[in-house]
């Protein structure tokens, strides 16, 4: 299973982002390999509208089954993510990516 976590920067010790669509990037955790892959969100940060949709599309492209953010999901992001069937965790708290994985995945 893959888990997508909105994060402030790359790596295990980075903090979870409280913004989803405008997160600096996404850490994609693979439960089978126990590896973390970084997906930068720089392109979306420049966009005026529709960033939630784009971020949800990134989650879909990784076939993420669990999506975690520190804040909440916007209405459009939620709509798209619900369509993908992913499980959503919002208000994950002020924690690191590693802690989020331990708390919500393991």
């Amino acid at each position: 299973m893959k888990v997508l976590i909105a994060a402030k920067s790359e790596g295990w010790d980075a903090m979870v982002s409280d913004r989803f669509g405008r997160a600096p990037g996404f850490s994609v955790y693979n439960t089978e390999t126990n590896k973390l892959e970084w997906h930068s969100n720089t392109e979306n940060l420049k966009a005026e509208h529709g960033v939630g949709i784009q971020a949800a599309q990134i989650a879909a492209s990784h076939q993420a089954e669990l999506v975690i953010t520190g804040g909440n999901f916007g209405p459009k992001a939620s709509e798209v993510l619900q369509k993908t069937g992913a499980k959503l965790v919002d208000y994950a708290g002020d924690i690191t990516v590693k802690a989020a994985i331990e708390k919500f995945v393991k």
């Binding site: 509208h49 529709g50 784009q54 879909a60 459009k76």
Partner: protein, 292 residues
């Protein structure tokens, strides 16, 4: 001739000036033209509150939005990649179009190799035409509740004017506030833009933004100071320094506010405002002649 009345800041008196100027001009029989007042503040049109006329027609307005046809789609992702407005989500097994983000640009629809994104009409609002008398007509467009984009409806209103008027008409546009797309669309065909402001720091701040916007659009501008007498003289200093003609100063009168709150025009009740509105028109004419 088309005169747009804009402001930057809201609540400065766009509607007051629009309604009173239109009414005054329509009554001057010696000037052989008809007047069309258009409320382009489609998100909250209010000129109509001051005008009691006969409804001539009412039309529902639509815009075209891309709609996904699952049966034809081969999931090539071209549509999501091309969309400039992030209105399309590509999910591998499904495509979602968000109508509120679609700008009706046709890019996805035209470039889809399978013709799987036909453009479908979506209702966005209503347009109504009223006749006040033989010389004064009023066009109002109103966006439906929940519709996010004002600009497409304003664009349709603007095109409607072209069908309705000729050289024997004066068109007065009551523009939306602000300096973003809706106001830029509303003033597009205007020969001159009057910027209504108030002599306060807020008024000056937003006037500055409005002036920059209109200069970007290369529109001739003039300033009207409403509620003259309150605040300070910084707006006048700014206009002088930037060589922007101030063609009217409407005094701040309690009586004017009271009439406004009852939905009445000011020119019949307050002679000094009537004179000032007439001066504003003379100021416009003078500026238009200088431009020739």
């Amino acid at each position: 001739m088309q005169i747009a009345i804009a402001s930057g800041k809201g609540g400065t008196g766009k509607t007051t000036l629009s309604v009173n100027l239109a009414t005054l001009l329509s009554r001057q029989v010696e000037r052989a033209f008809k007047v069309l007042l258009v409320d382009m503040d489609v998100e909250e049109p209010n000129s109509g509150l001051f005008l009691k006329g006969k409804l001539l027609r009412s039309e529902v307005k639509y815009r075209l939005v891309a709609d996904w046809d699952e049966k034809k789609c081969t999931f090539c992702k071209r549509c999501a990649n091309i969309c400039e407005f992030n209105a399309i989500a590509y999910l591998g097994i499904s495509v979602m179009v968000f109508p509120e983000l679609c700008h009706s640009c046709y890019a996805c629809s035209d470039l889809c190799p399978e013709d799987a994104l036909p453009m479908i009409p979506h209702r966005m609002g209503e347009m109504k035409e009223f006749k006040l008398n033989d010389r004064l007509y009023f066009l109002e467009s109103r966006l439906d509740i929940g519709v996010e984009q004002a600009t497409p409806l304003i664009e349709q209103s603007r095109k409607e004017i072209r069908k309705m008027v000729d050289d024997h008409w004066i068109t007065i546009i009551d523009a939306p506030p602000g300096t973003s797309c809706p106001v830029m669309e509303a003033v597009k065909d205007a020969d001159i833009v009057l910027l209504v402001t108030e002599p306060t720091p807020f008024g000056l701040h937003d006037l500055t933004l409005a002036v920059e916007t209109m200069r970007e659009l290369k529109k001739p501008i003039a300033v009207v100071i409403n509620k003259y007498g309150i605040g300070n003289n910084e707006v006048e200093k700014y206009c002088q320094k930037n060589r922007i003609p101030v063609i009217g100063k409407i005094p701040n009168l309690k009586e004017a506010a009271m009439l406004y709150s009852k939905g009445e025009t000011l020119i019949d009740a307050i002679p000094e405002i009537k004179v000032e509105i007439e001066n504003i028109y003379q100021g416009i004419i003078k500026l238009m002649e200088e431009k020739k």
